[in-house]
């Protein structure tokens, strides 16, 4: 079942068009930065975008900061929102369910396919950004004592070697993938509730927009730490020196909690649901 869903996702033209569209924005930013050499001040704009003018190898991180707040969650909401409601709308859901496969396995396969989409998207964005960053913006090097070594400057002003940068970038990408798991679980649950995939996607986006809004309100302090978008940008903490694990760990646990609760709700709702489409 999982192999079937993965195969469907990979062979779908829409998957690659969506990834291309997501990848287009950071690519355009890289081209514009290389042509104008005008970047935002450090600490303003998307994280790390200011640093890429002197070190193109950091551009995967800047690209991540560009797509993570909006483009990627929209794509995940659309993809996961279609998982069940889309099959129902096309009239293929009941044919799928007459196969000797449990509904839980069906939901697991759908969730795995969505997460595979996220992994492919983030890898494509990161690789494109790295290639464009190095080609258009150059390699970074930093003076450590009297030696000039390849690497970069941490957010705390200390030197990070290339292996450290690569390792922390890989962790940041993995963290971003996990952040999308919560979105996928919410959308998958709504997909089992809503009649149309658009309704499920819009419902998910409404949750994320509400979360983003509440995060900025002091009055919403009591619920801040459980908002789904609360720790999305905590990947920046991986580039402090020493690494600040506090919010990264909380972000991981929070996303796992969202996956457990909403995937559980999707299972509870869908396991014996009457399917007429």
């Amino acid at each position: 079942m999982i192999r079937v869903e993965l195969s469907k996702m990979v062979r779908s033209r829409r998957t690659w068009v969506t990834i291309l569209l997501i990848d287009a924005l950071p690519s355009l930013v890289a081209v514009l930065l290389s042509l104008t050499a005008i970047g935002p001040r450090p600490g303003t704009g998307p994280a790390f975008l200011s640093a890429v003018l002197t070190d193109g190898t950091l551009f995967p991180l800047a690209a991540l900061a560009i797509v993570l707040p909006l483009l990627l969650p929209i794509a995940v909401a659309l993809t996961a929102g279609e998982a069940v409601a889309g099959e129902a709308q096309q009239g293929t859901l009941r044919y799928l369910l007459v196969r000797p496969v449990g509904r839980l396995s069906f939901l697991v396969a759908k969730m795995v396919a969505v997460m595979a989409f996220v992994v492919i998207t983030i890898v494509v964005v990161a690789v494109t950004a790295y290639v464009l960053g190095v080609l258009l913006l150059g390699n970074g090097e930093v003076t450590a004592g009297s030696a000039v070594v390849p690497g970069g400057t941490s957010v705390s002003g200390t030197t990070l070697s290339t292996p450290e940068l690569v390792g922390r970038t890989a962790l940041a990408l993995a963290y971003a993938i996990l952040c999308m798991a919560g979105v996928a679980a919410i959308a998958l649950f709504l997909s089992t509730v809503a009649d149309s995939p658009l309704g499920a996607a819009l419902g998910t986006m409404a949750v994320l927009i509400a979360s983003t809004l509440l995060f900025t309100l002091d009055a919403a302090d009591v619920v801040r730490d459980v908002l789904p978008t609360r720790y999305w940008l905590a990947f920046v903490d991986l580039f402090r020196d020493p690494v600040l694990w506090r919010d990264v760990v909380r972000g991981v646990l929070l996303q796992l909690a969202y996956v457990v609760v909403f995937f559980g709700a999707a299972w509870a709702n869908f396991a014996t649901k009457d399917v007429t489409d």
Binding site: P46, V142, T159
Partner: protein
């Protein structure tokens, strides 16, 4: 499994993910058998105890702050996230965490390096006699040193312990009404690690208020002494490193204003650290700072104070209270004047301003 049972499982999952993080906070705190006087003595030695951790401070003071005082307004009026490595009073690092950056203070002996990711610069300075408050002054340990250690012991009492950062922290309260009737601070509550004396939570309340005006809490706490390497900073080539001789408006006035403040204002003694033109007076819950301002510094501040709710103007002063902090500017529009700010009511600040005008001594030109 039937549908209701499945939803029961989901409800149990929700309860588990909500309650599990709350469980450590719900554990009751153990009371200490140490007397308040012993805790006060422990608190006085806390600056030499090593620790590291994560601190959040929340201020609700809407200061009439502009221009040179902008940073002070955000420190006392917003939530600030800090990461701390404290070896002792002479060796520490405090990072202010921002969403996509940070600004750090690294202190060794009397030299402080202020690194800013936003500006990509490191400013190296020797500690001046007087300066405006900065992030390190908002740590519970520094606030306690300023307000609790110097307070009248008769105003200090024990309060129930609280669990803070996983530690059963012993509580002390300084009652403003017992300390000095002119103070605008209702009370200061502090909870400290009874093993090391390090304050973990401090809440300062304005008189008559049930909500704290300023809270500083250690959220993650490691009582070990951090290594020296984490405090040192060797700026990279990307960072502009420069030496600064003047830190802020208070330091500038202290160094260069050609006058000296009187030894006493409003019945409060000048603190020994006040060696320049800026005077810091009092101790404990009744403290004030007096800064001589030029006309171009005083006028914008007067305008800001004037639009503050409940601002009170007299012929030659204008002042307002922001929570427990009183701010008063002396002189008339177009003139320089004394900025007097502190934890005293406006009557006391006006008396202080009058004493400053009457008692300040202008230096002869050859001494300037």
């Amino acid at each position: 499994m039937t549908s209701p049972r499945r939803w029961l499982v989901v409800a149990a999952l929700v309860a588990a993910v909500v309650l599990l993080p709350l469980a450590p906070r719900l554990l009751p705190a153990d009371e200490t058998d140490q007397e308040p006087a012993a805790l006060l003595a422990l608190l006085a030695e806390a600056p030499d105890a090593g620790w590291s951790g994560y601190v959040e401070t929340t201020g609700t003071l809407q200061l009439p702050a502009t221009g040179d005082l902008d940073d002070l307004g955000s420190l006392l009026g917003e939530t600030t996230r800090l990461r701390v490595w404290w070896r002792d009073a002479d060796s520490w690092r405090v990072d202010r965490l921002l969403t996509a950056g940070e600004s750090d203070l690294r202190h060794t002996d009397d030299v402080t390096v202020a690194y800013s990711y936003e500006a990509q610069e490191a400013e190296v300075s020797r500690d001046p006699d007087i300066r405006l408050p900065r992030t390190s002054d908002l740590l519970p340990s520094e606030l306690a040193r300023r307000f609790v250690v110097g307070a009248d012991p008769a105003a200090v009492s024990a309060i129930p312990a609280r669990r803070v950062a996983g530690v059963s922290a012993a509580g002390l309260r300084v009652d403003g009404s017992l300390a000095d009737e002119r103070t605008t601070i209702g009370r200061v509550d502090v909870w400290l690690d009874p093993a090391t004396g390090v304050p973990l939570l401090l809440e300062a309340y304005a008189e008559g208020s049930s909500a704290p005006a300023l809270t500083s809490e250690v959220r993650d706490y490691d009582p070990g002494t951090p290594p020296a390497s984490v405090v040192a900073l060797e700026p990279t080539a990307d960072t502009d490193a420069e030496r600064v001789d003047v830190l802020d408006i208070a330091d500038a006035a202290s160094q260069y204003a050609p006058l000296r403040p009187p030894a006493e204002v409003a019945g409060l003694d000048l603190q020994p650290s006040s060696r320049g033109a800026v005077g810091v007076y009092g101790r404990g819950l009744t403290q004030l700072v007096a800064i001589p301002l030029r006309d171009n510094e005083a006028d914008p501040l007067r305008e800001q104070v004037a639009v503050t709710p409940d601002a009170v103007a007299t012929d030659d002063t204008i002042g307002a209270l922001a929570g427990p902090l009183g701010v008063l500017v002396g002189g008339r529009a177009g003139d320089g004047g004394w900025l007097v700010a502190g934890t005293l009511d406006l009557d006391a600040l006006r008396t202080a301003e009058a004493d400053l005008r009457a008692g300040a001594v202008y230096l002869p030109e050859e001494d300037q």
